[in-house]
Amino acid sequence: MNTDLNQILDKYKGDATRLMDILTDIQTEEGCIPSDAVAQLSERLGISRVEVEQTISFYHFFSQKPVGKYAVYLNDSAVAEMKGRTAVAAAFEQEAGCTFGSVTEDGVIGLHNTACIGMNDQEPAAIVNGVVFTNLTADKAKELVAGMRAGKAVQEMVTELGDGVNSSDLVQSMVKNNIQKKGDVIFSTFESGSAIKKCIEMAPEAVIDEVKSSNLRGRGGAGFPTGLKWEFCSKAAEKERYLICNADEGEPGTFKDRVILTETPQLVVEGMIVGGYALGAQQGIIYLRAEYTYLKKYLESVLDDYRQKNLLGNNIAGKEGFNFDLRIQFGAGAYVCGEESALIESAEGKRGEPRIRPPFPVEKGYLDKPTSVNNVESFAAVSQILVKGAAWFKGIGNDKSAGTKVLSISGDCEKPGVYEVAWGLSVQEMLDMVGASNTKAVLVGGPSGTFVGAKDFSRKICFGDLATGGSVIVFDQSRDILETVSNFVDFFCDESCGSCVPCRAGNGIIRSTLDKVINGKGTKADLEKLTELGTIMKAANRCGLGQTSFNPVVTTIKNLPEEYESRLQEESPYVPTFDLAASVADSCEYVGREPNL
C-alpha cells in the first residue's frame, strides 16, 4: 500500500468510530482496501481483522479487490433500464473489454453496477471516481472509455455543466437540478441567517412548540412528527446530545434532497442550527450518501460561510453558551442506512444494521447519546416555519399533511424533475402536471411504497393515503411492470442488512417465486403465497426495509393483477418450479437417451 495509513489514522485521532471516514480515504487513495491495510487497521484500532472486514464488506463502495483506476459505477435501477441502460452498458463493455462486475486485465477500467444514484431524471447515469455523468448514450460511453484509455483526468471528461449551483466553481458538475415547480416552503425566498436570529430570541422549548404546532411530519417517508421527536430528545436525561441530518436518500427514484442541498443548503444548515438550539445539542452530523461526494467541497464551503458569520461554532450569533457545530459524514453505498438507527451505526463506523428499538435514538442514539435524526427536507421546512410561523405552514396542504412536499418525479413523462407541491395532490393531477399520458401505473414512495393502476389515479399523495418520501415513478402502457418489480426485488435482496431471517431469506423467496411466475410456471397459489409472505415479513422484520420490501410484488398483485394473470398456469395439483426436460437435457445427451418425461 502506498498510502500512509498513520497519516489517515491521525487525521481521525485513531478513533474506531470514524472507521467509515478512514476506509473512505483508503478506498479513494488506493482504489481498494488492501489486505495490509486491514492488518494495520486491526493492529492500530485494537480489533480483529474480521471486525475490520465486517464493515468493509457491508458497503458497496468499499472493496478489498481493486475497482480499477477508473471505476465506473453505472446505475442499474429500474428507471435507468427504462431509459436505455442496456445499450450504454454494452458500449462500456465492448470498449473497455471487460464485463460489468470486473476490471480490465491492466487494471485501468473497472465496470460496476450500482443501485439508484439519485439521478432518475437524467438517466442513464454513472459515477466515475466520484464524478457524475448523466444522460449517457452508447456514444458517450465510448467517448468516456477513450478518455480513460488516453489517461485523462475524470473531471476533464465533463464537457457541459448543469444548471444553477451545479456549474459553480466548487461543484463543476453536469448534474441538472430540473426544478420544474417551486412551492411556498422549500424553493421560496429565504434570507440566510433569519431563522437563527429568530430562534435565539425564543426559549428552546418555544422553538420545539412552534415546530410541534406546525404539524410538520418527517419528510423522509415515515412521517413521524418532527416536533414530537425533538421534544422526546430534549427531555432525555443526558445532556450530551446529537442532531443528524439524514441525507442518505437511497429510495430508488428519489433525488429531491440532492436538489435541495445543491440549491438551498442554507435552509437545511439553518434548520439544523435551530434544532441544535432547541435540543441543546452540541454536535450535528450531515450523513450524506457517497453518491453525492461531488457536493462535498461546496457543502463544506457553506458550513465555513456559516462559521465565518459566527452562525456555527461557539456562542452562535453572540448568544452566550449556544455552541453547535456540524460535520459531514459520508456513507459508502448502503440503502438500509437511510433507516435512522442503521444510519447511526454507520456513522459510528459499523455495519449499517438497524438497532433493536426501544431504546429509540432520541434516548440512546449516536454514541449512545440522545439523538434526533431528521430528513434534509424536514430541516429545510423548520427554517421557514421559524421565520414565517407555524400557522402559515399549517395553512398549506391538507388536514393530515401540513406544508408542501418536494417530489422527485421520473419515468415516462415529458418533464421529469423536482416539483414542490402542496400535499393532497391527486395522482391524476400529478400526471397532468408532469406531462404523462397513456399511463399504466404509478409507483408512489419508491419500491417500498405503493404501485397504483388507473383505477386509483384519484387517490391523493399525502399522509393517510399515498404517503411518500418523495419518489414518484411513472410507467406508460408499453412497460412490463414485472420487469420493474423484478429489478426492485433484486435491489432488496442485495440491500437487506442480512440480520433478520424473514428479510434475508424472505426477499430471496420472493425472488425465486417471482421468477417462477415470470417464467410462466406460476399459479394463483404462488401469488397467494407471496401475499402471505408479505404479511409475515411485515410482522416479523425489525426495520422499515424488511417491513416493506415485499411491496413491489404485493401491491402489484393487488392493484395491477392483470400484469400477472396472463402468465399464470391453470391451477393443477402439481406445477413444477422448473422445466424438467430442459434440466435433464445435458445428461440425456451425454448418455444418449431421449428425455422420457
Binding site: 481483522r49 457491508f58 442485495d494 442480512g498 433478520c500 410482522a539
Partner: protein, 233 residues
C-alpha cells in the same frame, strides 16, 4: 426487591419483575416462547425472529422487549404460530440442513423447533445455496451450510487480546459468519468447546472429537424443546 408487575399471555394472568424480557417473564410463568438467537448472558440480537409476539396488538421480539404493567401479549395464537413456523421454514430453505448426517442432530435447536411446529415440507422452495466450509482452524470446523446467522458467536466473549474471533461479513442473502484465521490459530481448548456449545445448530463444531453423545441421550431426545418450561405451568 424489584417491582412486581402483572400482565397476560394469551389471556393467562402472569406476574414478573419490571425490566424482565418477555421471554424471561414468560418462562417464570411456565410459558415457553421459542428462541434461537437468544442466549443467556448475551445481549439480545433479535435476528432470528422466532420469538415474535404481539404486545397490545403490535408485533415485537420477546427476547429483546421488556414486559410492562398490564400489557396483553399474544404468543401461541394461530397467527403467531404460523409466523414462527414460516420463519423456521425460511431458515431451512436458505441453508443446507441435512439432519441425519449432522453431529448436532437431537441437540439442535432449529431441528427441535421444526418438530415443535410440525414442519413436514417447508412451504418455500429449497434454494440449495453453495456455502463454504472453513476448516482452517486447528480447533474448530465452521460448517456454513448449517449456520442460521444468529450471531451468538459474534456476541460472545470468545476473544484473543480483546479481539473478537467471529464477525459478520457481507450483507443481504450473501451474509456470512467469518472466523478470524490469525486469532483462530491460538484458540484454547476451552474456547473451542465454548464456541461449539454456543452454536444452536451444527455450524460450529469442535475438531478431533465428534458424535460423543449417543442417540437417545441428546438434548431433545427425551422431551421436546420448551417442555421443561411448560411443565412449570
Amino acid at each position: 426487591m424489584s417491582e412486581q408487575i402483572t400482565f397476560t399471555i394469551d389471556g393467562k394472568q402472569c406476574t414478573a419483575e419490571k425490566g424482565d424480557t418477555i421471554v424471561a417473564a414468560a418462562k417464570k410463568n411456565g410459558v415457553y416462547i421459542p428462541t434461537l438467537c437468544d442466549f443467556e448472558g448475551l445481549k439480545p440480537a433479535a435476528t432470528c425472529r422466532v420469538c415474535t409476539v404481539k404486545v397490545n396488538g403490535a408485533p415485537t421480539t420477546a427476547c429483546s422487549a421488556t414486559v410492562s404493567q398490564g400489557v396483553e401479549i399474544e404468543s401461541n395464537t394461530e397467527e403467531i404460530t404460523n409466523i414462527r413456523k414460516a420463519v423456521v421454514e425460511m431458515m431451512f430453505v436458505e441453508g443446507n440442513h441435512f439432519c441425519p448426517a449432522c453431529e448436532k442432530s437431537g441437540s439442535c435447536d432449529l431441528q427441535a423447533l421444526c418438530y415443535k411446529y410440525q414442519m413436514m415440507v417447508p412451504r418455500y422452495d429449497f434454494t440449495f445455496p453453495r456455502k463454504e466450509l472453513d476448516a482452517t482452524s486447528p480447533k474448530l470446523l465452521i460448517e456454513k451450510n448449517r449456520c442460521i446467522l444468529c450471531k451468538r458467536c459474534v456476541r460472545s466473549s470468545i476473544t484473543t487480546n480483546g479481539k473478537s474471533l467471529f464477525a459478520v461479513a457481507k450483507r443481504g442473502n450473501k451474509t456470512v459468519i467469518q472466523m478470524d484465521k490469525t486469532l483462530a490459530a491460538d484458540l484454547s481448548e476451552e474456547q473451542a468447546k465454548e464456541a461449539m456449545e454456543l452454536c444452536p445448530v451444527g455450524a460450529i463444531l469442535k475438531k478431533e472429537t465428534g458424535f460423543v453423545t449417543p442417540i437417545g441421550q441428546r438434548k431433545y431426545d427425551a422431551a421436546p424443546i420448551g417442555s421443561d418450561i411448560e411443565s412449570n405451568a
